[in-house]
């Protein structure tokens, strides 16, 4: 592609420089991480635990999506398929098969990753817009499947899914108990993504994003790297969907629908593509908006569209990207 600016707004050169710090976090990121962990610990005492849990699930979903777009430069326009399918599987596992929550979540993640193998295998044949459209079409197929398949309950969805007992012992029926599980799952996912980005594998991913032909010429089988990144992203999206299903006790078509694929793009874009904390902030903004704008009724779609337009035209770095740019730090 002969574009002058790459999709991620990070100036080249910053990338690849191994910043000092712990676990690959640089100084400012470490502070941000501490803020995040502190916020996680305090949030349920100030906000609705269910709301915060929902936010965390979407934040993990957006982080998983960002792993692809921000660090490999691949924009999937069908990530809802993996998110929603993870949710359905977890719901089915917990309700019909009576499995414990941790197994249900893992099952959701595995199925998300499994779908990602097929989707990725097809989609990585093309780049850029083509990649986006292929992933979108595949997601549409998954959506049709979910509408028709008996186990998803069609438009009713799977309802009244029990949260069950963690490891068969600790009941998660209370919101606070569930909250700590969700927080741990989120932190696990968040750290995993961070670890992937800073591994040698992650370095190659970023090399592909910056210049794929060069990465190929250096001897990397870029397709393999892209496929693995895609599968990892889908797996984590599945985990996020599975967790959300257990939080609300429902798994419905909303989560596999195309608009969900659009929403996760919006979250990442608002927060900042290719930043570690951006998707978390973006998810908070979008989820919060859905909740608080609900009273504005009919204008929700228009406002969402407006934010898309404003972000693309004026704030391509996103909130965190702009902040980082302001303070000259990488977040």
């Amino acid at each position: 592609m002969a574009s002058e600016t790459t999709l991620t707004a990070i100036p080249t050169g910053v990338v690849g420089k191994q910043a000092p710090g712990i676990w690959g976090f640089n100084g400012s990121q470490l502070i941000a991480l501490l803020v995040l962990v502190a916020a996680l610990a305090l949030a349920p005492f100030f906000l609705y635990p269910v709301f915060v849990m929902k936010l965390l699930c979407f934040a993990l979903f957006a982080c998983a999506f960002n792993l692809l777009i921000g660090y490999v430069g691949l924009m999937s326009f069908g990530h809802a398929a993996y998110f929603g399918m993870g949710g359905y599987i977890a719901g089915h596992a917990a309700k019909v098969m009576g499995l414990t929550p941790e197994i249900s979540i893992i099952a959701g993640g595995l199925v998300g990753a499994g779908l990602g193998v097929i989707g990725g295998w097809l989609a990585i044949r093309r780049q850029g817009i083509y990649f986006a459209m292929i992933t979108m079409a595949l997601a549409q197929m998954v959506y049709f499947f979910c509408v028709q398949a008996p186990f998803t309950g069609g438009e009713d969805g799977i309802q009244a899914i029990p949260r069950g007992k963690l490891f068969g012992v600790i009941s998660l029926e209370s919101d606070m108990a569930m909250y700590w599980v969700v927080a741990v799952v989120f932190l696990f996912g968040f750290m995993a993504i961070h670890r992937i980005i800073h591994s040698p594998f992650g370095q190659v991913m970023k090399a592909i994003r910056e210049n794929e032909p060069r990465a190929t010429s250096l001897g990397y089988r870029t397709d393999d790297y892209k496929l693995v990144a895609f599968i990892l992203s889908c797996g984590l999206a599945g985990v996020a969907g599975a967790t959300k299903t257990l939080v609300f006790g429902i798994a419905t078509l909303t989560d596999v629908h195309f608009s969900m694929s659009g929403e996760v793009v919006l979250m990442t874009l608002v927060g900042g593509l290719g930043t570690i904390f951006g998707p978390v902030v973006g998810a908070a903004v979008v989820v919060g908006m859905q909740n608080y704008l609900a009273e504005l009724g009919a204008w929700v779609t228009v406002i969402q569209g407006g934010i898309f337009v404003a972000c693309v035209l004026a704030f391509r770095r996103g909130i965190i990207g702009e902040l980082g740019n302001w303070f000259k730090v990488k977040l």
Binding site: Y48, D156, T254, V300
Partner: protein, 406 residues
């Protein structure tokens, strides 16, 4: 809705209510939250009209020693948003959640209501699970469900001579349920099912090839087990292919006055459908419609929007009956009281609520008039048959509701 200034102002006024929701709940204030679709495909069925109908009920109920507040929000057809809002509302002192179209959201909110022990009246969802396997002591299902629609359209239609059917079914649970139930009633009434075709939902916009298949079966009635834009597209294309002109009846299994209005009589004439309310049914329905019209922005009430009026009125009666403090204390007790006292209002007349939470009212089979028969605005229906309240809904013992045994 319209581009008119007045409507815009009305919307603004409706939206201005939002800050009220942030006010602290007062001991002597009953709060009703109307949770529905204000921006999506089900908007015209209830949406702003459902809110207006609720407010009219509150206005007519008048001052009875306690204040009543109505708030509303858009669940955007997302179950998690709906359930989240419901939770928040109940915690902020909302005493009743009303409307909630879209089955997935309707069922999810029912769970929250049970958990919070607060009253919940669903008027907008079609799933009969709300009073069946998923029934709750805090939930009342006020309006149509798939069973009632199937029974009215299926059996009354056969009695009216339409004894051979072909189904055009949206290939998902809702469509399957409608097709299955209707087919059973058609057979029970002595009719025959000649065949069916299941088309993918929601991506089908061209139904002509299915209509041609339906016609090839030589059935007298084409049953449309679908809803919304699908039904409208089917009817439009059936008119185009001259299917209705050749004596085949179209039976819509879920359709509202607003849909008929959208189609226009020229296209919709001869169509058969079931509603529980029609504004021109009798003196009482005409009276309530007259009172509602100034608030509906040019549209006429249908069974889904006016159900909010009826439900809110009955709810307020129950609150008055048991006192505000007791009503706020337990949603189960409140709903039990609603079940205990008889319903009566201008929209649906006398009625009652069954132990499984099902509100009973008659269902009517209508045929859409031709343009020549229609004398004025929204003069769209003629009555073909009535199913009395006692027979209109699924018998208590067949639903599998856990409340029935206890």
């Amino acid at each position: 809705m319209s581009f008119s200034r007045r409507s815009a102002l009305l919307t603004g006024a409706a939206l201005g209510v939002a800050p009220l929701s942030r006010a602290r709940a007062q001991a002597n204030t009953i709060r009703i939250g109307v949770l529905n679709d204000m921006s999506g495909p089900y908007r015209d069925i209830s949406g702003p009209y459902g809110v207006a109908c609720t407010k009219q009920a509150v206005a007519e109920f008048g001052a009875q020693g306690f204040n009543v507040e109505v708030i509303n929000a858009d669940h955007q057809n997302k179950p998690d948003v709906g359930a989240g809002l419901a939770r928040q509302w109940y915690d902020q002192g909302v005493d009743l959640i009303l409307d909630v179209p879209t089955s997935s959201v309707g069922l999810a909110v029912s769970q929250v209501a049970k958990e919070k022990n607060k009253a919940y009246i669903n008027t907008g969802s079609a799933t009969s699970d709300l009073t069946g396997a998923a029934c709750q002591a805090t939930t009342v299902h006020w309006m149509y469900d798939t069973y009632m629609l199937a029974k009215s359209t299926g059996s009354a239609m056969v009695k009216a001579g339409g004894d051979s059917w072909f189904f055009l079914t949206a290939d998902y649970a809702f469509g399957h349920a409608l097709e299955r139930d209707t087919a059973n009633f058609v057979r029970a009434a002595g009719g025959r099912v000649m065949g069916q075709v299941r088309y993918p939902f929601p991506s089908t916009s061209d139904f002509s090839s299915f209509l041609v298949q339906a016609q090839a079966s030589r059935a007298k009635v084409i049953g449309m087990a679908n809803a919304g834009a699908d039904t409208i597209n089917t009817i439009k294309q059936a008119a185009e292919f001259g299917i209705t002109r050749r004596g085949v009846k179209l039976a819509a299994l879920l359709m509202f006055l607003a849909d008929v209005h959208a189609l226009g009589l020229q296209t919709a004439q001869g169509l058969v459908l079931t509603e529980s309310f029609y504004w021109d049914l009798n003196d009482r329905t005409r009276a309530v419609t007259r009172r509602l019209l100034p608030h509906l922005n040019g549209a006429y009430p249908n069974m889904a929007s006016v159900a909010n009026y009826s439900a809110a009125l009955h709810f307020l009666k129950a609150v008055k009956d048991m006192g505000v403090a007791a009503a706020k204390a337990s949603g189960t007790e409140l709903v039990n009281r609603m079940k205990a006292i008889p319903c009566d209002d201008d929209a649906f007349g006398a009625g009652s609520i069954r132990v499984d939470g099902r509100k009973l009212c008659p269902s009517y089979l209508f045929e859409v008039k031709s343009p020549a028969e229609s004398k004025g605005p929204y003069d769209y229906y003629k009555l073909l048959g009535t199913t009395p309240a006692g027979e209109a809904f699924r018998p208590l013992n067949e639903g599998g509701c856990s409340l029935v045994r206890s």
